[in-house]
């Protein structure tokens, strides 16, 4: 027994030593700012780190549905509230949590919106483990930077400098209409949510509460990805966790999506026209909460007005 205890102690000491080395190496490998050149992944989603501290009222996390449906500059134009979409293609909930943790390091949003499609995305066990472990050992996420490391990597972080011009929104004005024959056919059936994802939503809720933010579940319109079974599943989860849930797929009056003109890929994602309708709805919703104040006259936010002019000139003109 003493021999086994000694062996276990030796192995534990070895593992501890290894963790310390990897933790130390992590400082070397972590990107020194949030630009692509510095090795940051998903720079659109991580662009929030380049925003001035405590300047964002609403943070959105989610997959491609989020960044194609919600336009922060449109919300700014209508309300004067600042928002940022931390969206990335096929985002896993574990990564949504990571993005939120990073956002909370510099921002104090009052509202966090979680686009619900990623709640149904099965996360490979390996990804869950890697995402969790790389939270403490970033070298596991950024190890591939050995290819691009420079002398600067041996110095401390030089501050995040990158942010996206449209605050995470990705503009697309193509039109490719959708078939809506089976879209949102009513049913009592419930699409089950993977257990790991349920736990992650709970953790995201706790993270938001710990940072003084409210969590809102939002399903943006999509004929391809959304149906009533999924609606029921998210509703059940929202009731269980006492969260507010808005499904825009069930609100054709408030968000009148025309599926022949408002999607660029046959109902999978919304195009600019569709995103305007969703953003307009969100603007009204945010006003209704009375949680935020209009910052359009605040000189600290003058850059948003400049960006809006550019947005209107380029995006709205192109559409």
């Amino acid at each position: 027994m003493v021999k086994i205890a000694k062996t276990l102690l030796g192995l534990a000491a070895f593992a501890m030593g290894l963790l310390v080395i990897l933790y130390g190496l992590s400082f070397l490998f972590v990107p020194k700012n949030n630009t692509k050149d510095a090795g940051m992944e998903e720079i659109y989603a991580n662009g929030i780190q380049g925003e001035p501290p405590n300047s964002i009222d609403v943070v959105v996390v989610g997959d491609s549905e989020s960044y194609s449906s919600i336009s922060p500059l449109h919300i700014w134009k209508t309300t004067g509230y600042t928002s940022y979409v931390c969206g990335s293609g096929r985002q896993y909930l574990s990564y949504s949590k990571t993005l939120l943790e990073r956002a909370f390091e510099t921002q104090s949003p009052k509202l966090v919106i979680l686009e619900t499609l990623c709640i149904y995305r099965q996360i490979p066990a390996k990804t869950v483990v890697m995402d969790e472990v790389s939270r403490y050992l970033p070298i596991l996420r950024y190890h591939d930077r050995w290819k691009v490391m420079t002398r600067e990597d041996f110095s401390p972080t030089d501050g995040n400098s990158y942010t996206t011009p449209y605050k995470g929104y990705r503009h697309n004005n193509k039109v490719s209409g959708a078939d809506t024959s089976n879209y949102m056919a009513q049913t009592e059936k419930i699409a089950s949510i993977p257990l790991v994802n349920r736990l992650l939503v709970k953790q995201i809720q706790e993270l938001c509460e710990a940072n003084g933010a409210k969590l809102l579940l939002l399903s943006t319109p999509s004929t391809v990805n959304w149906n009533y079974q999924r609606h029921n599943g998210i509703q059940e989860l929202a009731d269980e966790l006492d969260l507010e849930y808005i499904d825009l797929n069930t609100k054709p009056q408030e968000v009148p999506i025309d599926w022949s003109t408002d999607t660029y890929d046959r109902g999978d994602h919304l195009n600019y026209s569709g995103s305007r309708k969703v953003s307009q709805f969100l603007a009204k919703y945010l006003e209704g909460t009375q949680m935020f104040s209009d910052r359009r006259g605040d000189s600290k936010y003058a850059s948003w007005n400049t960006l809006l002019q550019d947005y209107e000139a380029k995006v709205e003109k192109a559409s």
Binding site: L18, I21, R141, W146
Partner: protein, 530 residues
């Protein structure tokens, strides 16, 4: 759990099994190993574990039946008159052959049904269409349990060895179950013989620090080979092989070389993890690789690559076919007709053809695998035929066949031939393989490589440097091993600060240079698909 490289295996199943094995009393250890094996199988293949259970029960019963037949026969022989003995012996042999035939029908039949019915019936339908016959054969689709191609061969070898009297039938069902289902060998082999592992597994030796270190080192080495090199090359290989008509012949040739490297690193890395895992429990599984790229001929290559499959085919196909009565007759006729040198070569080629057809088919139910087998048959057959001529010519020209330059030329030639074979092995169908090979002949230019276009297809400059440096390291390790240096044991014998420094360095190397995470596609062990 997808493979030996999944966190569930490396961080849960293996450590938990090692921990339980270390603290449980002797008799319970074998139970731990069997339970862990079934948990592993269940985690990978779910309810398809019934196939493994069926195979275990079946070989246990058939083995006992063989033994009973032999015992009854002996009793009859003891009581029989001398003139009746020949007939009794023939009767026993007939009965035992019947049992073996039944075993082959059950086990190989199950493998054929699950793995090959789709291939044979699809080709049957193609033939019917070709003959304008208005009939369609239903093509079923079955889920394959993990490792069926490996444990089926183990099951058949056990029964044939019992029949041959090499080993006694095992009365202990659980020992047999552990022999057949031991989890480290389940995914990609090695294909073990009963006498190699069954007893040692059943003994369940106590954990030993030396074995623990050797096993751990080997696991780490295997993971490095797979994750640093094999997985790194995957995107480039995937791009070229799935869209080959976009690429110049030289790029296709590089892809074929890269695939050969990938396959070796992937397969030998997985085998390292398998052998290392078994060694943690003090069980030595047979080696499956012996530096195959040092081979001077294709024949030698196959004695060094996937050794346990090669010896299985040799013992259970090549010898039985070449020692059969019709083949003996044919050999003596051929000897008279073609002389003592070429006669036996020609007749042994029949057995060789059977081996390579089976080898090709074993790898998968597609024409490119059959072509792969026949390609190697042709190379070995041609090698056997021209060998006397080569000997004569080199002697006349006073060429020293043991000179380093001559040996290097032979090794290089073998490597090139292997790479060509692997091109067909990896190609998405035989037609595509032939087109790729044709493109290498008709559309060859070094310009894309010299211009660095290669780096636009999924592998960049640093990747290439890393792979080349690792191959150099592997070459040095290989040369040392060829000279009899046992690097694993040498490291274990070093003082603990040196050992720990090496383990930390190797782990950091894996963490930094492993091809995982963002930008990489996880790759399941390639041979697990066979």
């Amino acid at each position: 759990m997808a493979s030996y490289f999944s966190p569930q295996y490396l961080a849960l199943l293996l450590p938990a099994t090692v921990g339980l094995y270390a603290i449980t009393p002797h008799r319970a250890r074998r139970v731990i190993l069997l339970l862990a094996s079934y948990v592993f199988f269940w985690a990978v293949s779910g309810s398809l574990i019934v196939y493994l259970l069926f195979s275990t029960l079946s070989i246990h019963h058939l083995g006992l039946w063989l033994e009973l037949t032999a015992r009854n026969g002996k009793e009859k022989l003891a009581l029989a008159e001398s003139d009746q003995r020949k007939a009794i012996r023939a009767g026993i042999q007939r009965q035992q052959r019947g049992i073996i035939l039944l075993a082959v029908v059950i086990h190989i039949g199950l493998l054929l049904t699950l793995k090959y019915s789709h291939f044979f019936l699809s080709n049957g339908n193609a033939l019917l269409r070709f003959l304008h016959m208005p009939a369609i054969l239903p093509v079923p689709s079955f889920l394959l349990p993990i490792g069926i191609s490996f444990y089926t061969l183990q099951a058949v070898s056990y029964l044939i060895d019992v029949y041959r009297g090499k080993i006694p039938a095992d009365h202990n069902l659980f020992r047999l179950a552990l022999f057949l289902g031991f989890f480290p060998q389940m995914m990609e082999g090695p294909i073990c013989r009963y006498e190699q592992t069954a007893q040692r597994l059943w003994e369940a030796p106590p954990m030993c620090w030396n074995n623990f270190l050797l096993g751990g080192q080997r696991i780490l080495w295997g993971i490095i080979k797979k994750m640093v090199v094999a997985d790194r090359l995957n995107i480039f290989i995937l791009n070229v092989f799935s869209d080959y008509d976009q690429y110049n012949g030289s790029i296709i040739a590089v892809a074929a070389i890269c695939y050969t490297i990938q396959l070796y690193m992937d397969f030998s890395g997985t085998i390292d993890v398998a052998l290392g895992s078994a060694q943690l429990f003090g069980v030595a599984l047979p080696e499956n690789f012996q530096r195959p790229f040092f081979s001077r001929t294709i024949s030698e290559f196959w004695q060094r690559w996937h050794i346990t499959l090669g010896t299985w085919f040799k013992d259970y196909i090549f010898y039985p076919v070449s020692m059969s009565k019709p083949m003996k007759k044919l050999t003596s006729k051929a000897r008279k007709r073609f002389g003592p040198r070429y006669g036996p070569i020609l007749t042994s080629s029949v057995a060789l053809l059977c081996v390579w057809l089976c080898n090709g088919l074993w790898h998968g139910s597609a024409w490119n695998y059959i072509f792969f087998g026949l390609y190697h048959f042709a190379l070995i057959f041609a090698g056997n035929l021209v060998q006397p001529l080569v000997l004569t010519v080199t002697e006349r020209l006073h060429i020293n066949r043991n000179h380093i330059a001559y040996r290097l030329m032979q090794t290089l030639r073998t490597c090139i031939l292997v790479c060509i074979g692997e091109l067909f092995f990896r190609a998405e169908g035989l037609k595509n393989g032939l087109k790729m090979a044709w493109r290498m002949v008709t559309d060859w230019s070094f310009t894309p490589i010299l211009k660095g276009n290669l780096f636009a297809y999924g592998i960049d400059g640093p990747d290439t440097v890393l792979v080349v440096l690792f191959l150099v390291l592997l070459l040095v390790v290989g040369i040392l091993q060829e000279r009899g240096v046992k690097l694993g044991e040498a490291l274990v014998s070093k003082s603990w600060p040196v050992r720990i420094a090496v383990y930390y360095a190797a782990t950091c190397f894996l963490v930094i240079f492993g091809a995982y995470g963002i930008g990489y596609i996880p790759v399941d062990p390639i041979y697990a698909g066979f």
